[in-house]
């Protein structure tokens, strides 16, 4: 079937199998490989992207379901060569170790801060329940989320 969707502001149209998952569309059709496939069972959150501005696990969304909607991946966050405030906070707070969970973590936090620009630490931890870090680097990830929220542009981005 023909699927038209908007990824990081760019319209992409492709003929794909009806059963193609959004994460495979992003990686294999759009060529955007920041979004990782981790558990492939809706558990780990490595494949988290924004669908119409809200975090979803792209291993559990069909590309066809996203047709006509806006998808944002990690590649779509930086603007004019400037890292997004959440990306910058990960850098400054050492929020990543091996880096595999990082794109999903960043997207989950961007979505969280849109819904709750000034979360408590407890709200950040609850908001990241759907994202696993096998390096167990959670403390610095939470610290990065709180640091991003404390900057005006992080809370409004």
């Amino acid at each position: 079937m023909k699927v038209d969707l908007t990824v990081n502001g760019k319209d992409i149209s492709a003929d794909v199998e009806d059963r193609m998952l959004l994460v495979h569309f992003l990686r294999e059709v759009a060529g955007l490989t920041a979004t990782n496939v981790g558990c492939d069972t809706t558990s780990c959150g490595a494949c988290t992207v924004l669908l119409d501005g809200e975090s979803v696990k792209s291993c559990t969304v069909l590309a066809a379901q996203a047709a006509g909607h806006q998808v944002t991946t990690l590649e779509g966050l930086a603007s004019n060569g400037e890292m997004h405030p959440v990306q910058r906070a990960f850098h400054e707070q050492h929020g990543l170790q091996c880096g595999f969970c990082t794109p999903g973590m960043v997207m989950a936090i961007v979505s969280l801060l849109r819904e709750n620009p000034h979360p408590t630490e407890e709200q950040v931890r609850a908001g990241l329940e759907g994202n696993l870090c096998r390096c167990t680097g959670y403390h610095n990830i939470v610290r990065a989320a709180l640091a991003a929220a404390s900057t005006a542009e992080g809370a409004s981005a």
């Binding site: 492939d40 979803v56 696990k57 379901q65 329940e129």
Partner: protein, 274 residues
């Protein structure tokens, strides 16, 4: 993991969805948020030949005050239920429990109607709706009918919905004492299905994952109605249940959890409504 091949059809209206379901028959499944069905399809435990996507039916996403009850469109997402001011005031049990389903990403996609129609006894909202005495509205080829939630769940992943019938609305009566609620859920990881869960609203008590369907804890309710203390009544929580044993818990451990969680739920509901 990739599902086996199917044809994807997006319905533009309830009528079109019902028409597609009628023409494809048992080869077709409705797709709402997809967060129960797609994982099963990826594991090839479900292999429908046609998916009828209901995601475009925005007119089935609403929460409205109907005086004695609140009407919730079947495609209303957990995320919207969790954040509804109306539900927070009138049905805090439902708003809270919706906010405990899965994780934020899942709640951005999953819908109340999808969760109910899936008929999984380990899901949270079916038991919550049992405790709230909800009524379900389903639309079939002969028009709409109402189904009391107590008659809806007929077996493991089986419901009273006829082939092609579409769940359109959930009607939840406003409880006399909205504050007398509690929802308890025991999981290994935050995002897991409940090993056991308990929902309390007033004198109504329902259980998650204590048998092939969500259940009312009738023995607890009878004990409470007969004047037993909450702690005494909770001792009956496993009566009439038939929990399974699996990798997460034995049936005996589930029975123990039911008694503990119901005791906690009754105590919390009492404390809240004082």
């Amino acid at each position: 993991m990739i599902p086996s091949s199917f044809s994807y059809r997006r319905a533009g209206s309830v009528e079109e969805a019902a028409g597609l379901a009628a023409s494809y028959g048992e080869d077709a499944k409705y797709l709402a948020g997809g967060h129960s069905l797609l994982p099963l399809m990826k594991l090839r435990l479900a292999t429908p030949e046609v998916l009828i996507d209901l995601g475009g039916l925005r007119d089935l996403s609403y929460i409205t005050d109907q005086g004695t009850h609140v009407a919730i469109g079947a495609l209303t997402r957990h995320h919207d239920i969790e954040r509804s001011g109306l539900l927070g005031r009138q049905l805090p049990l439902l708003a809270h429990a919706a906010g405990r389903v899965g994780d934020p990403q899942i709640r951005h996609r999953g819908t109340i109607g999808g969760s109910v129609a899936h008929g999984d006894p380990a899901s949270d909202l079916p038991a919550v709706l049992l405790a709230l005495d909800a009524t379900l509205v389903a639309r079939g080829s002969d028009g709409s009918r109402e189904i009391p939630v107590g008659e809806f769940f007929t077996g493991l992943f089986e419901t009273a919905l006829a082939p092609g019938e579409l769940l359109t609305e959930i009607r939840v009566p406003k409880p006399a004492r909205p504050a007398a609620w509690s929802f308890q859920k025991f999981t290994q990881r935050a995002i897991d299905w409940a090993i056991v869960g308990a929902a309390v609203q007033g004198g109504n008590v329902a259980l998650v994952n204590m048998g092939p369907t969500p259940l009312r804890a009738a023995a607890v309710e009878a004990a409470l109605a007969g004047g037993a203390s909450p702690a005494e009544a909770a001792g009956h929580a496993a009566e009439g249940t038939s929990p399974s044993s699996d990798i997460r818990a034995s049936s005996g451990y589930r029975e123990h959890l039911a008694r503990v969680l119901v005791a906690r739920a009754l105590a919390e509901a009492n404390a809240r409504s004082q």
